[in-house]
Symmetry: C3
Subunit: 332 residues, 3 copies
Amino acid sequence: MAAFVPPNERPERSPHLPFGDCREAPFYGKDIISVSQFNREDLEYIFGVAREMRAMVERVGTFDLLKGKILANLFYEPSTRTSSSFFSAMERLGGSVIPINEVTYSSVAKGESLPDTIRTLECYADVIVLRHPEVGSAALAAEYARKPIINGGDGIGEHPTQALLDLFTIKEELGEVDGLTVTMLGDLKYGRTVHSLARLLSLFTVRLNYISPDILRMPPELIEKLEAKGVSQKEYSTLEPVLAETDVLYVTRVQKERFENLDEYEKVKGAYVITPETLEQTKDKMIVMHPLPRVGEISLEIDADPRAAYFRQMEYGLYVRMALLAMVLGKA
Amino acid sequence: MAAFVPPNERPERSPHLPFGDCREAPFYGKDIISVSQFNREDLEYIFGVAREMRAMVERVGTFDLLKGKILANLFYEPSTRTSSSFFSAMERLGGSVIPINEVTYSSVAKGESLPDTIRTLECYADVIVLRHPEVGSAALAAEYARKPIINGGDGIGEHPTQALLDLFTIKEELGEVDGLTVTMLGDLKYGRTVHSLARLLSLFTVRLNYISPDILRMPPELIEKLEAKGVSQKEYSTLEPVLAETDVLYVTRVQKERFENLDEYEKVKGAYVITPETLEQTKDKMIVMHPLPRVGEISLEIDADPRAAYFRQMEYGLYVRMALLAMVLGKA
Amino acid sequence: MAAFVPPNERPERSPHLPFGDCREAPFYGKDIISVSQFNREDLEYIFGVAREMRAMVERVGTFDLLKGKILANLFYEPSTRTSSSFFSAMERLGGSVIPINEVTYSSVAKGESLPDTIRTLECYADVIVLRHPEVGSAALAAEYARKPIINGGDGIGEHPTQALLDLFTIKEELGEVDGLTVTMLGDLKYGRTVHSLARLLSLFTVRLNYISPDILRMPPELIEKLEAKGVSQKEYSTLEPVLAETDVLYVTRVQKERFENLDEYEKVKGAYVITPETLEQTKDKMIVMHPLPRVGEISLEIDADPRAAYFRQMEYGLYVRMALLAMVLGKA
């Protein structure tokens, strides 16, 4: 009889431990909630595993590291890119995925709380990726869950796996992160990807340039925080002054809707589009990144340029997410 | 040449029979439509298989009993809980799932009949779980299908797998069903889960207490039916008189929308919320159940109490659904 | 370091080549965009593989030919039938499927172009099935993709896998295609399935009869094209004159909405419904086909007649799609 084992006395996150999971593995059973939980050593470890994942995918496509494990892909708002990427990551590791995309129409619509939904899903799955429009939702879910939670984006809060894949892209494409000049372009006020990436980069010795319309500047409190960590930062309103020194040009979209005054938008938008002419002024060895989707801010004409790294960036994302899934499930 | 084999002369539900399916297995090729199709012996058999499933999941997580089998998860209305549960059940058995959640926007929107949709899907799948808003839809589907149909809820009709997992929860948590006092609380008029569970319980020697607002009482025709079977039943409007004797407290939600007079709702609603104070008056060895989602009718403060069985109930559901899938596919 | 390998210098569509893929296999790495890309020899090859798939499914249900391969099932408009069929085809071959049904609410809603979506998904998947409302979308996707694209229907353009399964049905049910009289009934103006099938049939020696309301006649430019290829074609407004000679009766739906004048619709609709009486006037050895869903244009009373081939047609579709997936992935 199995009665009366209160949940809080049950073994922590280790239902299948005896069969190959490794309790000692770093990140085993851990949640991935925020970039602030990682130090440089963690990053090296994650990227080392991601590199192994890449080698395996290139050699055999798919393998059975997570055979028998189930991922619940819980998306309260749609995101084809993130959800497909985790889906593929789990399948390439031999695991299965329960796609849950309609939560808004379902239990949640009936008023169920996020903790209850999470506690239900962890009865069926071994790990949960959560995408949710509210800041802090992933941390809330992790507080209640016995199984690992991976934050797939919580509103304007964090999107740690995006920041990790961005950093992994830089590392793999340029070899080292220390010593680089990273120029961030576009909407630096609302873009959670640039915030998270800047935070991660503060663990390295880099120079950051911020180029944005005046109303979309990097938040002063974030600038202060990074300054306190000794990061060299400069703000500009156009790209020209820093193009020649830039190793990584990280482009984000400037959305029309951010502007109250459309004349203002029309005036600035041209300054934030990357064209073949832009690349004429850059180093030969540099990369252009973008979290995608893009809507005109990078000209299609440069897609074939070796410096255009944004589609490779997607692929690095696959390896980073495979690494994270394997790690929190104790298999890496 | 394969021409002119009329569907009705084709072998019944056994396309892969020579390879390990067992025709003699109880429930092989059968539909799961209503609780009324089970006797006590059937229940023992199902629960025995469910117990084996639990042992296997706890030992190895997933295994290949249904490798090569495909489940079509056909949901005409969303239900994260039921659909995820079947999804996970099939994946943990090594099978695959075709999720079909958008039927309302698709062929069906074009006016296709349920039998035609079913006869199409059985070309692709080995078993079909059907959730449909109309009473009788699962029976209709089963009439046309050559492959097994499992009723995942047909409107206010039946939800047999929910009733089976409820009964399995009681059995596993309390050891025996005979001799128990089961108290059902809340909306007993519209709640199909309590109706189905009461029917299943009538196969055992139990005492049933019904606690509900006056306008949400257990339907008289059901009470009569159970009385004819010799079940001891009593109705109350508050919980207090029966708390001390209750072995199973089955809580359901009292929906505001059921009340024409909101004053009436405000007056009664407090009487149907389970709090730590409620549990002070119960036995030490009893369980609180809920089909979930809950919206306030059980206080979060009792979640950690060993008597709070509702999240374990979800987990028992996984094992029962694994058992049913294995059984109708001839593998248990 | 993997930097600076421009996409256009990367090996073409062969990421996993060393491990069992066969570069010499016909259709390896090819896109399936239009029926016009096939000659009779190709069709024989495809159908040969489809026949092997059928034999394997009947013997073992599922097998591991595409283990480790991932299909992205990218549906910009819902189609339960086509999407479930590809889903099942991939699963029965041991592969995995990423279902992407919500594109309209997601990246695409944010304005992402189809080529960008495709180039993202091919980072995660090995083959992409694309259903899209715009004519030419599959060809556009194929232009940008390094991985194989299979057209799952592009608006009123093409639906090549439907045409292939239609032809395979005729071949399997009647043994030979040469010498047959194929009668197409219903909406011949907008029905892309009859257009594609007629084009494929022009590779054989067949006689085609077209029966439709005057406003829904086969497009004159298609008739001309087929005439140039020597196909014998005749148009009628009722079925009676050709019923006795018909080997294949291909029924499509006449939609009320096509008619400006509803009186006109009421007058003609009866002439396009197949009943037991219709079949009394046909050969014993002939078949009735329909792409489904049907909404009244074929009486349920003939479903049990051996000549009613439309549900078997669905099943042949599974084998044809299995064949195509295996072929473009170099495994057949």
